[in-house]
Symmetry: C2
Subunit: 329 residues, 2 copies
Amino acid sequence: MRVPLDQLKSEFKRVLLKLDFAQYKAEKCAIVFAENSRDGVYTHGLNRFPVFVDMVKQGLVKPDAEPTQVGGFGAIEQWDGNLGPGILNAGFCMARAIELAEKNGIGCVAIKNTNHWMRAGTYGWQAADAGMIGICFTNTIANLPPWGGIDPRLGNNPLVIAVPRKEGNVVLDMAISQYSVGKLQQYKMNNEELPLPGGYDKDGKLSTDPTTILASKRALPIGFWKGSGLSLVLDLLASILSQGNSTAKVTQSEKESGVSQVFICIKPQDNEYTTNIIEEILNYTKSSRPEREGGTISYPGENTLKTRKKSLAEGVLVDDRIWEKVLVL
Amino acid sequence: MRVPLDQLKSEFKRVLLKLDFAQYKAEKCAIVFAENSRDGVYTHGLNRFPVFVDMVKQGLVKPDAEPTQVGGFGAIEQWDGNLGPGILNAGFCMARAIELAEKNGIGCVAIKNTNHWMRAGTYGWQAADAGMIGICFTNTIANLPPWGGIDPRLGNNPLVIAVPRKEGNVVLDMAISQYSVGKLQQYKMNNEELPLPGGYDKDGKLSTDPTTILASKRALPIGFWKGSGLSLVLDLLASILSQGNSTAKVTQSEKESGVSQVFICIKPQDNEYTTNIIEEILNYTKSSRPEREGGTISYPGENTLKTRKKSLAEGVLVDDRIWEKVLVL
């Protein structure tokens, strides 16, 4: 079923106002949830909205809380999210990083005690739409075993790198797990095999069976030992720079709340060389012969724009059951 | 065969002086080549030294060249490497990034027209030894097909993230390819299978056979489509920020020369919280039950220190044939 973007937004806003969100906060959160679905990231749009509402009701997300500055030096700042809505805190921090980069060429904002920011890419698009190179990452609850281990001790710590481009920003938005838990559950529900190995079975053999991997809790980080190391250092950076909770602490609390995040912006030179080098890189990449006849090679963010266009023309795709659920919230 | 570190260094220095390197440049390059072998990165220590000498003889690496500043704003700077030795240019840029971060909390230096920096991790250790969080990356010649394609169009663009720690820095040093070409050749020479899939065969099936992958030229990026996207955006950042050559340009020249690199430093708060959170993260990660009985879980950089200690105690492991070759250069 498809629903107009505005309707999605106004339903979200209606629910958030009932939860005592201030007008402008309800508006901003509703826009981000709706746009996440509009861009095809359903898992962090409509589908996650009921979970967010629950977190607010449980008091884990505090609608009234505002970020407060706790430190700063030159082009870096530390903020406390005070357990406010992750979407608002993250949007605020990226806006501050943009300002710092306008002034200093580069800026870095770290925030502690914040909450799930939903789609990581949201803040990459925000930076790139402002003409900035944007880099951001968050830690999460532990959901990946480190390399050589079997118990989850690392987060999938999504990482975003965004590059502004007039014809469409390039936005890499990737978790460090090969497949998210949500994705594994989706394949399982559809009774489908994964196209590529996504974890281990109980005997430590690579598997493409989502049920096996969900049971073993041994999902795969990207690049095996490399993703394991990358997840670890992103957690170090987020926890050190924000002076906030690590994946260890977040996991011990058993609820994914009070996470740590980092937002970096760099101001690129806005000239012909920059414009041309971006096109050169994208065109060269696309000049690789496709693996399958008629296949195409996409840059990160390209399919987002296609989905966005379709959503705006035909309405945003929604899961009927979840949509019905939101309508009666 | 094992050779004392000092002997390795003095042989490298002797050869470089014959190539008309200034004393201090020969000294610095010799130290880095020797230390790369000392730390177990033989591919970018002794084993690469003869290739470096060839590049100098061919005029692709210019011993006399010094980096010159071509731009700067606030905490970011652009430099031209003027095709000087990559080791010297990279060491210089990371030193500048450290200075910028001392002053501004964060600093970013991009360099164009530089050469292969040998071991990427060298500059991460440099930053961390100076008490800084260090991030750096380089583009390279194309050696990976983009996701969905079969012709190499992306570099393996090594990425380093380093965190200072008194008991031993945490240094992630990873190329975006699952296995480097050098690693694949090593497995092939030893007639060994890869422990995990490292690329595709000609029919597009995942393979653990190094010969098959070297023949198909379809090595695997980490995390399949994710590494493909990561390699692309790192090339974008390096080329845009330095206003230098992209992987496309470097590849068209057929020699891996004139590459683009980025060095970022962030000054962490030097306090008890930082010290404790690092230990908390490392200890939590290591608390995962090992996959194999007696197995251990390491953090990035941990094994480097073990190898370093052994090299200092017993001498640096060298490939006899390459060592003999260097002795008569």
